[in-house]
C-alpha cells in the first residue's frame, strides 16, 4: 500500500470518528449554558488548550493551527487535525449539586497546499456554541379532590457550528493572509414540561395530562472571517482574525405535546462582529510565550425579544472578552534526551461570558497544562491538554461550575502531491 492510500484510510477513520463523536454529543454542560445565547465551546486544538488557548499567532507549518486561517499559508503537505475532549464538571447551586460527564468532538480540519508554502486551501467543521442542560423541580399541587405530584422540567440542547472553507496566502515571508467563508448551521431545542405523575387511573395513566412545550430553532447563515499573520520582528508574531457582523436566519417550530398546536415562525438574528488578536514571542531556543484576546460585543446582538425563555434577556448581554495566555517549551530533538524532548505547555485563561447570570457577569477562570507526542517520521502529532476551570461564583451568580477537561488532538501530515 502506498503511503497516500494509507493516509486516505486514516482520513476516513478520522472523519468517521469525528462525525460519530460530533453527532453523539457536542454541547456544553454547565447550567450557565441554559440561559441566553449559550456557552461557547473551547477554541483551538489540544496543543493550544494546554497553553491557555493562545494560537492566533501560530505559524508552525509542520503542526498547523487552524485558529487563525492565515496560519495554514505556509504548509507544504496535506494536514489533517481532529480535536476532541472529555469533560467532567461539578455544578453547584443553593443546597444542590450535580455532576456531569460529557465528550465533545468540536473540531475537524484539513488543509491542502495549492502552492506549496504559499497558498493553501482549508476546510473543516467547528462547533461554536452549544448547550445541553436539563433541570427538574419536583412539585405538588392540590386540585379538585386530588393531590397531584410531579415535576416541572426544562431542557435546552443543541449547538451551532461552522463549516469554514478558507484560503490562506503567504504574501511575504513576514506576512500571510487568510479568508474563510463560514457556512453556519445549527439547531437548538428548548423543552418546557410539567409532568403530573400521580394520581393515575386503573391503566396507570395519569389523571392530569402533562404539558410539554417544545420550541425548536433551525439556523442557517454565512459569515466571512478575515485573517492576518505577521512576523514584524524575529521571534515575534502577531495574528488577527475578524468576523464581521452577520445575519443568521432562524426558523422556529413550536409544538405543544398533547395539544393540537404546531406553529412555525421565521426570524433573523444579527450576530455581532468578533475580533481576535494574538501575540507570540520566542524566549530562546525552545521557549515561547503567547497571548490571545478575543472580543465580541453581544450588546449589539439583535434578535426577537421573545426569542429566549427569559424575560429581559437582552438587557443581560455584555461585551464578551476572552483572554488566554501561556508558555510553551517546544519539542526538543536531542538524541536520547527522552522525556526532555517532549513539549511542555502551561497557560491560564480568563473569559467573561456574553451575558450576566444572577445579575452579575460570569467569569470563567482556568489553568491548563499539556504536552504532545510526535508521530513516527514527524508526520504528525498527538497532543493532550488538561484544563481545570471554574465558571461563575456562588455569591455573584447563584451557582458555580468546576470542570476538568481533557483535550486530545491528532494532527497528521502527508504529501499527496
Amino acid at each position: 500500500m502506498t503511503h497516500t492510500r494509507m493516509l486516505s484510510a486514516i482520513v476516513a477513520v478520522i472523519m468517521v470518528v469525528g462525525a460519530v463523536g460530533a453527532a453523539g454529543s457536542a454541547r456544553a454542560q454547565t447550567p450557565f449554558a441554559v440561559q441566553s445565547v449559550g456557552q461557547r465551546l473551547a477554541d483551538g486544538d489540544a496543543r493550544m488548550l494546554g497553553r491557555g488557548g493562545w494560537g492566533l499567532a501560530e505559524s508552525d507549518t509542520l503542526h498547523p493551527g487552524f485558529k487563525n486561517p492565515a496560519s495554514a499559508a505556509g504548509v507544504r503537505q496535506v494536514g489533517l487535525a481532529l480535536t476532541g475532549y472529555g469533560e467532567s464538571a461539578g455544578n453547584e447551586s443553593a443546597n444542590t449539586s450535580r455532576s456531569t460527564y460529557r465528550t465533545y468532538v468540536p473540531d475537524a480540519r484539513i488543509v491542502v497546499p495549492v502552492i506549496k508554502g504559499e497558498l493553501a486551501f482549508s476546510a473543516g467543521f467547528k462547533l461554536e456554541r452549544g448547550t445541553a442542560w436539563h433541570t427538574k423541580v419536583d412539585s405538588t399541587w392540590s386540585v379538585w379532590d386530588n393531590t397531584v405530584t410531579g415535576s416541572t422540567q426544562f431542557e435546552r440542547e443543541g449547538s451551532t457550528f461552522k463549516v469554514p472553507l478558507g484560503l490562506a496566502w503567504r504574501a511575504h515571508e513576514a506576512l500571510a493572509a487568510g479568508i474563510t467563508l463560514n457556512l453556519e448551521r445549527g439547531s437548538l431545542r428548548e423543552t418546557l414540561a410539567a409532568y403530573y405523575d400521580n394520581p393515575v387511573n386503573a391503566s396507570g395513566i395519569p389523571f392530569y395530562r402533562s404539558v410539554i412545550g417544545v420550541a425548536e430553532d433551525q439556523f442557517t447563515g454565512t459569515s466571512a472571517t478575515l485573517a492576518l499573520l505577521a512576523t514584524p520582528f524575529r521571534d515575534w508574531r502577531v495574528g488577527v482574525t475578524w468576523t464581521g457582523e452577520h445575519a443568521i436566519d432562524g426558523r422556529r417550530k413550536t409544538e405543544l405535546g398533547g395539544v393540537a398546536e404546531r406553529t412555525f415562525t421565521d426570524f433573523e438574528l444579527q450576530r455581532p462582529a468578533e475580533l481576535s488578536v494574538g501575540l507570540a514571542a520566542g524566549l530562546g531556543e525552545r521557549w515561547e510565550v503567547g497571548l490571545d484576546l478575543r472580543r465580541q460585543d453581544w450588546r449589539r446582538f439583535v434578535a426577537p425579544p421573545a426569542w429566549l425563555a427569559r424575560p429581559g434577556w437582552q438587557d443581560e448581554l455584555v461585551d464578551e472578552l476572552q483572554l488566554g495566555a501561556g508558555i510553551e517549551r517546544r519539542r526538543g530533538t536531542v538524541r536520547r534526551a527522552g522525556w526532555a524532548n517532549l513539549p511542555l505547555r502551561v497557560g491560564v485563561g480568563l473569559h467573561r461570558w456574553p451575558y450576566q447570570v444572577g445579575g452579575n457577569e460570569v467569569l470563567e477562570r482556568s489553568v491548563s497544562v499539556g504536552t504532545g507526542f510526535p508521530l513516527s517520521g514527524d508526520r504528525g502529532t498527538l497532543d493532550v491538554g488538561l484544563t481545570l476551570g471554574r465558571i461563575g461564583d456562588r455569591q455573584d451568580n447563584g451557582l458555580t461550575s468546576t470542570y476538568l477537561r481533557l483535550a486530545v488532538s491528532v494532527t497528521g501530515l502527508e504529501a499527496w502531491w
Binding site: 494509507m6 484510510a9 486514516i10 477513520v13 478520522i14 470518528v17 463523536g21 453523539g24 454529543s25 447550567p31 450557565f32 476532541g84 455544578n91 447551586s93 444542590t96 450535580r98 456531569t100 460527564y101 460529557r102 465528550t103 442542560w133 433541570t135 423541580v137 399541587w141 386540585v143 379538585w144 397531584v148 416541572t152 426544562f154 435546552r156 443543541g158 451551532t160 445549527g186 428548548e190 423543552t191 418546557l192 403530573y196 389523571f207 392530569y208 395530562r209 402533562s210 404539558v211 439556523f219 398533547g258 395539544v259 393540537a260 398546536e261 434578535a303 426569542w307 429566549l308 425563555a309 427569559r310 424575560p311 508521530l375 513516527s376 508526520r379 504528525g380 486530545v408 491528532v410 497528521g412
Partner: protein, 450 residues
C-alpha cells in the same frame, strides 16, 4: 515506508482510542437532572392546574336516532306495560286464511275437539319478576281484537307509535283477573271465539295489554324477529319465539298442539314522554327508541392560553326514574349546530358519521348508577384549541356499533328499552351536569437560543 507504516498505526490507534474513550464517556452522561440551573430561565408554566367549573350549557337538545334497517315493528323485543310514563302494548296480526295442513286438517278445528286456545308469550330473562330482579311480578294480561289488522310499516322509531286501529270491545281472555307470573305466560282464550277466527279464514289484528292491576314495569317479550337466544331461557335456543296462538286438541297430547305465529307484531309505545325540552328539568338517554342528549357547554371561562390538563364531564342519574337493562354510555363529540336542525333526527349511519367517540363506560346498571364521570380531556383540548370551525357539543349515546370500544354486549341498543334520566341544571350543584376543567397557562414566550 517503514515510517509511514508506523505513523499509520499510531494514527489508527489514536483514532480508535478516541472512539472508545468517546463511547465510554458518552455512556456516562446519564446524570439525572435536578434543581441545579432551575430559575435561570422562565422554566415553569405561569400557572399550573387551575380549576374551572363549567356548568353553563349554551345549547341542549335530544337527538332521535333511527335505524332504517330495524324499524320498530322489526325489533327483536316486544314491550308491554308501563313505567315512568312509558306505556306500550303489543300488536299482532294472525292470518287464519291458510292454517290447515295434513297434520292439522280443518276437521280437527271443531268446538268439540278443541281443548283450549291460548296466546303464548316468551318473556326475556331480564324481565323475570322477583324481588331480586326488581321486575314486576303480578301481571294481568288482556287480549282484544282490533277492528282491522294493523299496518306494521307505520311503526317506526322516529315516526312514533303510528296508527293503532280501533279496538273491538271485550277482552278475549277468559280470566283477565288472574295474574300470570310465568316466564312463558300463556293467556287462556275463549275457544268458541277463537274457533270463529279459524272459520273466518281472514287476517285479524289483536292487541295484547296489561291491565292496571299489574305491577308497574315495562316487560320485554320475544318477537318474530327474535334471534338473541342468550337473552331468554337456554331451553328455547334456536326456536321461533314470537307471540303464538296455541290450540290444544282433545285427541292429541299437548306436545302436538297447533301453534300459529303472527304475520306481524310490534310494540306500540303509544306513551313515551318527550325528552325534556328544558335542561333544567333534566335530560334522558334512552335506548330502544333511541334518544340521546346533546350538551354544549360554555367554555368562555377559559383564557386563550389555557392548556387543558384534564376535563371531566360529570352527570348524575335520578335513580328514582332510571330503569332498564345494563348499557354502555358513550360520550362523543358532535357539531352542535345539529341541534338547530329540524327534528333533530339522525339515522344510525348519520350518527356514526357526525360523532367522534371520546370515552365511555360499560355495563352501567340503571339501578346502580348515580354519579358518572367521563374523562373528556382530549375533546376539550380540541375544542379550546380551535380545531373545529363549528361549535362542538357532547352527545351521550349508548354503545352503538360505531363505538366499537364500548359495544361489548351481544345486543344493539335497539334491543332493550332503558332510560337513564339525569338531573338537570336546576338540581343542586353536586347533581347538575358540569365540566370540571383543570388547565395550566403558558406565556407566549417559549425558549430557543443560538
Amino acid at each position: 515506508m517503514q515510517a509511514n507504516r508506523s505513523m499509520t498505526g499510531t494514527l489508527l490507534a489514536a483514532a480508535l482510542l478516541a472512539t472508545g474513550l468517546g463511547a465510554w464517556l458518552a455512556g456516562c452522561t446519564s446524570d439525572l437532572p435536578n434543581r441545579v440551573g432551575s430559575g435561570l430561565v422562565d422554566d415553569e408554566l405561569d400557572q399550573s392546574l387551575i380549576q374551572l367549573l363549567a356548568d353553563d350549557v349554551t345549547a341542549y337538545g335530544a337527538l332521535t336516532v333511527d335505524d332504517p334497517a330495524v324499524p320498530l315493528h322489526r325489533q327483536q323485543v316486544l314491550y308491554l306495560g308501563r313505567q315512568q310514563g312509558v306505556r306500550s302494548r303489543i300488536l299482532v296480526n294472525y292470518d287464519f286464511s291458510d292454517v290447515y295442513s295434513d297434520s292439522f286438517p280443518a276437521s280437527a278445528f271443531t268446538a268439540a275437539n278443541i281443548k283450549s286456545v291460548k296466546l303464548g308469550l316468551v318473556k326475556l330473562l331480564h324481565y323475570e319478576g322477583s324481588e331480586i330482579t326488581g321486575q314486576p311480578v303480578e301481571l294481568f294480561y288482556g287480549l282484544r281484537q282490533l277492528s282491522a289488522p294493523f299496518d306494521s310499516t307505520l311503526f317506526r322509531v322516529a315516526a312514533g307509535a303510528g296508527a293503532i286501529p280501533g279496538v273491538v270491545a271485550g277482552e278475549l281472555n277468559v280470566s283477565p283477573t288472574v295474574s300470570i307470573t310465568f316466564a312463558k305466560p300463556e293467556i287462556p282464550l275463549d275457544e268458541e271465539v277463537a274457533l270463529g277466527w279459524f272459520q273466518g279464514a281472514q287476517t285479524l289484528g289483536f292487541v295484547i295489554e296489561l291491565n292496571d292491576n299489574s305491577d308497574e314495569g315495562l316487560v320485554g317479550f320475544s318477537s318474530s324477529e327474535f334471534l338473541r337466544y342468550s337473552e331468554v331461557d337456554s331451553t328455547l335456543a334456536g326456536l321461533f319465539l314470537p307471540p303464538k296462538l296455541i290450540v290444544e286438541f282433545e285427541d292429541r297430547p299437548e306436545s302436538e298442539s297447533f301453534r300459529l305465529s303472527p304475520v306481524a307484531d310490534t310494540s306500540t309505545f303509544e306513551d313515551v314522554p318527550d325528552a325534556p325540552a328544558d335542561l333544567s328539568a333534566g335530560f334522558v338517554l334512552r335506548t330502544c327508541l333511541r334518544s340521546y342528549p346533546v350538551l354544549d357547554f360554555d367554555f368562555s371561562g377559559l383564557p386563550s392560553d389555557a392548556l387543558i390538563n384534564r376535563a371531566v364531564l360529570r352527570v348524575a342519574c335520578d335513580t328514582t326514574l332510571t330503569f332498564g337493562h345494563a348499557e354502555s354510555i358513550v360520550v362523543a363529540e358532535i357539531d352542535s349546530t345539529v341541534l338547530a336542525s329540524d327534528g333533530q333526527t339522525l339515522t344510525l349511519a348519520e350518527l356514526a358519521t357526525a360523532t367522534s367517540i371520546i370515552t365511555g363506560q360499560t355495563s352501567l346498571y340503571p339501578s346502580d348508577v348515580f354519579q358518572l364521570a367521563f374523562d373528556v380531556t382530549s375533546a376539550v383540548q380540541r375544542i379550546v384549541n380551535g380545531v373545529y370551525d363549528d361549535p362542538r357539543a357532547f352527545v351521550l349515546a349508548a354503545g352503538e356499533d360505531a363505538y366499537s370500544t364500548y359495544d361489548l354486549t351481544s345486543v344493539d341498543p335497539d334491543f332493550y328499552f332503558t332510560e337513564f334520566r339525569f338531573h338537570g341544571t336546576s338540581a343542586v350543584d353536586s347533581l347538575r351536569p358540569r365540566l370540571e376543567i383543570t388547565y395550566s397557562r403558558r406565556d407566549e414566550r417559549l425558549g430557543g437560543a443560538e
